[in-house]
């Protein structure tokens, strides 16, 4: 039963990928791909990297959200709702100001470090909240995020970098993804695989420090691994494509609504659905204002907010009954 669903899901991802490969301003068909070397260039320099980048970024961001939810024991948290994404953009801005010629790898490292620091700050503030209502946690995260982005905007205004910063931060724009500019995302894919590998440990760590230590888990180490995965994934994605709002929140929640909470079983689904959703948003963004493109994150913002609202209201009904 479940395996037939999995096959359907994989087939639809492949279908979406094919649509993504053949959608765009230059009209590429199978026959021209065979005969025309120019078309072949466009295909392999732009279309293929873009599709791969969409899948990798989407699934990585969803898994990062899932890990964050496990570690904070809160369903309504994800990197952009905990100051992580905003800190990564701050890091990116700082490196843009002080070392404008920095390589993409340096940018990525600095952004990831900032993301790590921001996430740690969030976790420290969380410890201070004594009575944890499920919704106070994301509220604090949202506000922390807006404080950090206010700092970022202030600095950017001062150095007159607001426009180039906007391109990154409000980004989620895959139109600039071409060969040579996305390869770091493979690293993100690798991290996602690593996260899938140790998924069970995250589940146990999510039960709390005492429990995890009792069953023989190195709690500090697994927390550190989780935080690093979240930070590096957010850092790289900010540098390569820009922020992807709500993704890490809605995908794990929808999957858990449909299939329960056994992480080992659900994590492949989180990957698939995350990649598929971003792919779908990007295709919509390419079609609705043809020949102009609308960033995937803009579409995702609308769809994501609607789904999030649905989840919130749904959860409150459950709590009531």
């Amino acid at each position: 039963m479940k395996s037939s669903y999995l096959i359907i899901a994989i087939i639809s991802i492949i279908g979406l990928s094919v649509i993504s490969l053949f959608t765009g301003v230059s009209d590429i068909s199978l026959s021209s791909l065979w005969g025309d070397p120019h078309m072949r260039d466009i295909f392999f320099i732009s279309r293929v990297p873009r599709t791969v980048a969409l899948l990798l970024a989407g699934s990585a961001m969803s898994v990062a959200g899932l890990i964050m939810q496990l570690l904070t024991q809160n369903r309504f948290v994800e990197p952009s709702l905990a100051g992580t994404t905003q800190s990564a953009s701050l890091g990116l801005l700082i490196i843009m100001i002080f070392v404008p010629s920095a390589s993409i790898v340096t940018k990525m490292i600095v952004a990831s470090l900032f993301a790590m620091a921001g996430t740690l700050l969030f976790m420290i503030i969380l410890r201070k909240i004594v009575l944890k209502s499920a919704l106070i946690v994301p509220l604090v995260g949202i506000m922390l995020g807006s404080v950090i982005s206010a700092i970022t905007i202030f600095i950017a205004m001062h150095y007159d970098l607001l426009q180039s910063l906007g391109a990154w931060v409000s980004g989620g724009d895959f139109s600039g993804v071409i060969q040579g500019r996305y390869e770091l995302l493979w690293l993100v894919g690798l991290l996602t695989l690593l996260a899938c590998w140790v998924a069970d440990s995250f589940t146990v760590a999510g039960m709390g420090r005492e429990f995890a230590t009792n069953v023989g888990l190195n709690y500090r180490r697994i927390m550190l691994i989780g935080l690093s995965v979240i930070a590096v994934v957010s850092g790289i994605i900010i540098v390569v494509v820009g922020a992807l709002p709500f993704l890490g929140l809605i995908v794990p929640n929808l999957i858990s609504l449909m299939m329960g909470d056994n992480i080992r079983k659900t994590i492949p689904w989180v990957c698939l659905m995350g990649g598929g959703l971003v792919l779908l948003c990007d295709i919509i963004g390419r079609i609705i204002r043809y020949p102009f493109e609308i960033p995937a994150s803009t579409i995702l913002g609308v769809i994501g907010a609607v789904i999030f609202l649905f989840l919130l209201i749904n959860q409150s009904r459950h709590a009531k009954n």
């Binding site: 807006s146 404080v147 206010a150 202030f154 205004m157 001062h158 803009t298 907010a305």
Partner: protein
């Protein structure tokens, strides 16, 4: 944060609410004089008129933000929710975008036109009253959930507006994007005068009901017991609050945290919980925050035009502090 500390020291001084308001009035007068007279150049007439308009805009915005927040908090019986946090401003921007999207399709989006403005405000008011009445009348929603829904609704409205703006005209998108930060210098005189008229007219209506709000602030069941037509009063108040927010947003753009800060500071500093003291205190504090903030930025730090960002920064920290203190 420095400012907050200073004020809390102030709150321990024994002064009657009226004396406190007098003190704030004095401060406002000093700050306004400073703002008008500092660094006057050669072209005296031009500079004075220009500064006068900026000052007037700030006073209107301070009035709208402070009054709407205090009343919203009294009606919803809480001190953390504000119209801005609940997405009122984002809703206004979305409605403006929608109207342009469906009717003119040109880039006259921010160009001011009073009839268009009235139409938009009516739409906003109708829509927000429906939406927020639904939110607040569902008894099983707790305050955290409502706040969360409000913030997400705000995000939704903003994203939808962005999407529509992009569909509208990709080439002019960057121009629109600059409107996402509040500015006090780009409004036209007729818009300022019209807004002043609207704001102070509704302000007067609200001021006449100041004792009613004292009763409402006691909470739903007390208010009903004391003979208030609860449903009707809440609806009219939400309606007036939406109008004030609409005017302020149309005038300068979104200012998320101003209302939250001044309302909470006003409870701290007014020395009384009666609305006849709270409302003026919050208003004067908002004026001080806006003009004083602008003065410090412009002449202290030599950075013009980023006041809204600084307010966002201080306001965000203030909000985290409020949440942590409360829970």
């Amino acid at each position: 944060m420095q400012k907050i500390k200073e004020h809390s020291r102030l709150s321990s001084i024994k002064l009657s609410p009226k004396q406190r308001i007098g003190l704030l009035l004095f401060l406002v007068a000093v700050i306004m004089t400073l703002f008008m007279t500092i660094n006057l150049g050669n072209n005296l007439h031009y500079i004075l008129v220009r500064r006068g308009y900026i000052l007037f805009t700030m006073v209107i915005v301070a009035f709208a933000a402070s009054i709407s927040t205090v009343l919203f908090q009294s009606v919803t019986n809480n001190r953390i929710l504000t119209p801005s946090l609940m997405g009122f401003e984002a809703l206004f921007i979305l409605i403006q975008t929608l109207i342009v999207f469906f009717y003119s399709g040109t880039s006259s989006y921010w160009l001011f036109n009073i009839i268009k403005f009235i139409g938009e405000s009516c739409l906003l008011v109708a829509f927000s009253v429906l939406l927020y009445r639904w939110l607040f009348s569902s008894v099983h929603f707790n305050i955290n959930l409502i706040l969360m829904i409000g913030i997400v609704l705000g995000t939704l409205f903003r994203s939808a507006a962005t999407l529509l703006q992009r569909l509208l005209d990709p080439n002019e998108f960057s121009v629109l994007q600059s409107r996402m930060f509040a500015t006090f210098t780009k409004t036209t005189p007729e818009l300022i005068w019209f807004s002043a008229l609207v704001v102070f007219f509704f302000g007067f209506i609200l001021w006449r009901k100041r004792y009613l709000f004292d009763v409402l602030a006691l909470g739903r069941s007390h208010a009903i017991n004391l003979g208030v037509d609860y449903r009707r009063t809440v609806t009219t108040t939400l309606l007036l609050v939406s109008i004030l927010v609409a005017v302020s947003t149309a005038l300068v753009g979104p200012l998320t945290f101003l209302g939250l800060m001044v309302a909470n500071l006003a409870y701290l500093l007014a020395g009384s919980c009666q609305h006849r003291y709270i409302l003026p205190t919050a208003f004067l504090l908002a004026v001080i925050a806006l003009i004083g903030g602008q003065l410090i930025l412009e002449y202290g730090l030599h950075m013009a035009g980023s006041l809204s960002v600084v307010l966002e920064f201080i306001g965000g920290i203030f909000f985290i502090y409020l949440v942590l203190k409360r829970f």
